[in-house]
């Protein structure tokens, strides 16, 4: 079974390219443009018993909840959720406390190469999907 990845990013191009490349790499990636869509999509997946394996959330969003607060909401539904935060901030020490509190599995800094995201996903997923 393909690992299911939920992507949240408010930049259309970035979101679409990540989803397209992850699908190419054999994941099942679904894109959402804001926290409302992300929470709705995640809830729907749980209801149909096809939960996401990892969520990849952009830290800074134009509207709605940011990546950290979205992850907190998703954790209320599934405490074991795996969460990766993408950020363009070079200095994350300003928000270190918030990141710890949200128990983020990994932070990936923009700009990143698709190979870097693939390595992070493999680490976060562990041996769950190794053949």
């Amino acid at each position: 079974m393909k690992p299911k990845i939920l992507i949240m990013d408010d930049e259309d191009d970035i979101r679409e390219v990540i989803a397209k490349l992850l699908n190419y790499l054999g994941y099942k990636a679904v894109q959402t443009k804001d926290s409302y869509e992300a929470i709705y999509e995640y809830t729907k997946a749980i209801e149909i018993k096809e939960p996401y394996d990892v969520v990849v959330l952009d830290l800074t969003m134009a509207y709605g909840l940011n990546g950290i607060d979205t992850l907190k909401r998703l954790r209320e539904m599934n405490p074991n959720i795996k969460g990766i935060i993408c950020t363009g901030y070079s200095n994350v020490s300003d928000i270190e406390e918030k990141l710890k509190e949200a128990q983020i599995d990994h932070i990936i800094h923009k700009p990143f190469k698709i190979n870097e995201l693939e390595i992070v996903l493999s680490k976060v997923l562990g041996d769950k999907f190794e053949s």
């Binding site: 191009d13 679409e16 390219v17 990540i18 397209k20 490349l21 700009p111 990143f112 698709i114 190979n115």
Partner: protein
């Protein structure tokens, strides 16, 4: 009435859009645009995936921020003559080798 040649009119239009550009920056912008156009034309003249892969990479040497849009526009044009999976392959190779997200 003075009749301006198309290049002059184009330069004026670009200047109006980017009023904070210096003359030097403007010259560089126009030169880069021309090079990108030339590469895009070459891409559109072939269906050889290896050639396209190299040209897509070259395209990145002349672009700064709007990488996604440029690549997508180029690949959308290619989509007309390549299979979806070939376009996906090219997109993957471009981002694996050169471009960042």
């Amino acid at each position: 009435m003075e009749i301006k040649d198309p290049k002059e009119k184009y330069i004026e239009a670009v200047k109006a859009l980017f009023t904070n550009f210096s003359d030097e920056e403007m010259d560089k912008y126009i030169e880069e645009e021309a090079l990108m156009q030339e590469i895009e034309n070459k891409i559109n003249q072939t269906t050889d995936l290896e050639k396209i892969e190299v040209l897509l990479s070259e395209l990145g040497d002349h672009m700064e921020r709007s990488l996604f849009k440029e690549i997508r526009v180029t690949l959308a044009a290619l989509n007309k003559k390549l299979a979806d999976e070939e376009v996906d392959f090219l997109l993957f190779k471009a981002f694996q080798n050169k471009y960042t997200i």
